[in-house]
Amino acid sequence: MDIKTLYDADFINLITAKTAFDTLTTAFGQHHESWQQEVINRLNNSQWTGTASEHAKARIQLLDNELQAAKQELTLVGTALHEASEGFAAAQAHLISALDDAKAKKMTVAPDGGITWDNDPKSANFAGTDAEAQAQLISKRITAALTEADHADQTISARLGHLATNASNGTGLDSATAKADTDAARKLEDVPPAGTDPNSVKGWWNSLTDAEQQRMILNHPDQVGGLDGVPAAARDQANRINLQHGKQDLQRQLDGLGPEPKQFLGYVKGEPVPNPKYDEWKRQHDDLEDKMKGVKAIEDRLNKPVDASHPPTYLLGFDTNGKGHAIVAVNNPDTADNVSTYVPGTGARLGGVGGDIDRSDLMVASANAANKKAGDPATTSSITWIGYDAPQSIIPEAADDTYAKNAEDKLHSFETGLRATHEGKPSNNTILGHSYGTTTVGYTLRDKGLPVDNVVLIASPGAGVEHAKELGVDPSHVFAAQGDDDIIKYAAPEDLGGAWSNVENNIGAWTGFNDNPDHHVAFGRDPSVDQFGAHILPTSPGTGHSDYWNNGSASLRAMGEAIAGKPIS
């Protein structure tokens, strides 16, 4: 299919044909029901018995089965036409979006797909210094849209051809054939529900043909995109659709808020009187703008030209529910040798995903550096996992471990899915939490177990355990770091035992009887004390709570080494 054909295509004829077939199917069904009442019921209620009666009833039952099968086959024609129209419309929308973006970037797209632009910085039509990279991205989108349309075309041709053959040679009257066709069509609609074991999901996904997988992505991106056990490339494709839908929905909501109300209703004795409508408008506006900021950060990273510091990015999860969620992988976790999942803590939300992706980029670069220095060609993927509802305030939300408990099933499912979809030799997997994210990681390891090789706890307010061995991972592969300027060490224990232990140890330290005091923080023993039993990662002097990823820092280098499975410097 070429650009003009898809751009100009009017799919109304498919809708009309679908409606006509539905009408025909309904009429056929009504005739069938009438026939059942007028013929079969009367016959069954008659007093006719004997051999001739049995033969007649058997033949009529067979005819009834054939009519039922025919109705099923007719229904499938309507379904096929409907799905075809949706598939073509989606492809056309993607093409138009790419062409609109080309126009906005002052580029011209020729009918054969060639893209031209003005390179002269003095020209009014100058397309910018990154025009070539942008043109490549747009070209890929155009090609993808045309491929999508070709795919829809081939699918509808094959399905209608099959049903037409069944109709013409009579096999469509066979109950078994109609059932098989119905099952095949249903298979294209039924997506395993969220929470299904990722290994079962992977089995289901593998049972689909390439074409069926494509249809599943295009027809059900909201379900496929978040389903653990679906390979990363497919989730990425689905979530890019979800991202655009989410963006459009957020914009609609922003537009629907209307103009900003007056902040104050007036003044009484010189004091402003707050306007409740303004307060509500502002709350909604700021929430939507925050989510839109996250959407744009994801778009920017997905569209960034690939280079050594910016590997390909995969969107493994996205929604705008609550404060919004996003799961973004730098490099493909299904093919990487080392796979790390980074779980951020308090404040983690869709709106802040940009800063978390920055950190994943740096961790991949750091792991790559560790591998290169060791002469190891291994590759690394780092996934930012904002797949849970994190506390949004230090006080009071971060003092509540409910957020960590509620995340356990989701994190367990995600990590199980990573194992299920990984290709070839099992990867060296790391779970890396920061701040409250370490509590989420620790609780999940303690209560559900995680299929990981390494655990990294950065700036932890406690992982819900007293010793690394309680995490279910070899303690020699449990790492912890705490900067000298990080106030997390002062997050006082939420339980009496931990608080009392701190009192005893502080007295011991002050009186000189204890030169290696134990320490407890909000949710258990501080992972950075010797008694916890973790391998302590170095940090640079002056490292505060969000400084662990600073360029050139000892902690960033150590995280890369831990993720790459290399000795810590």
Partner: protein, 182 residues
């Protein structure tokens, strides 16, 4: 007996709950004080005007070009685009500052030119006022920082065991437009 025991258990449970609430309250109070203290020290510092992000990128490239000109080895590939990092991402703020960085790989450099490179790197930058950072004692890297502008230059993989030598220059946290948002 049974009744007495139950009463005692109930009292104990209440005491534990009360103690937990007290501990949680103490934790929150401590955290509040600490955040306030942290904020008092760092927020004004972080809120000061800086060079812009574009200027920081030019400075990074300037340092890289100057350093490369003095080294006896050549990069194995281009530098790629800048890597930006959001500063104070999940700290008390203010939010919006960024670090930027980029660098080069030199591949598996033999011992002699590697030692020459390390010496040239150190000499050139210390002559320009760069100083070793306090954690630059690792066996495999040289970290030098310019106290005048806080730009950091790292030569990594300088030990004989390393199969890759790399150079990276990074900026301090800067406001994209040079000033914090109003």
């Amino acid at each position: 007996m049974s009744e007495t025991r139950n009463t005692r258990n109930t009292r104990n449970t209440r005491n534990i709950r009360h103690a937990r609430r007290s501990a949680a309250a103490a934790a929150l109070a401590a955290a509040t004080l600490l955040l306030a203290a942290c904020g008092a020290n760092t927020v004004p510092e972080r809120s000061k005007p800086t060079v812009t992000l574009d200027q920081a990128k030019k400075q990074v490239d300037g340092y890289l070009a100057d350093i490369l000109a003095k080294l006896p080895v050549k990069p194995t590939a281009g530098s790629g685009d800048f890597s930006d990092l959001e500063c104070d991402h999940d700290d008390v703020g203010p939010h919006g500052r960024k670090q930027t960085a980029r660098g080069y790989d030199f591949g598996d450099v033999p011992s002699a030119p590697k030692a020459e490179t390390a010496a040239a790197f150190r000499t050139f930058l210390t002559d320009r006022g760069f100083q070793p950072t306090s954690d630059a004692t690792g066996p495999d890297w040289i970290k030098l920082k310019n106290p005048k502008d806080d730009f950091l230059a790292v030569l990594d993989g300088v030990s004989d065991a390393s199969h890759n030598l790399s150079l990276r220059v990074s900026s301090p946290c800067v406001w994209p437009n040079g000033t914090p948002p109003a």
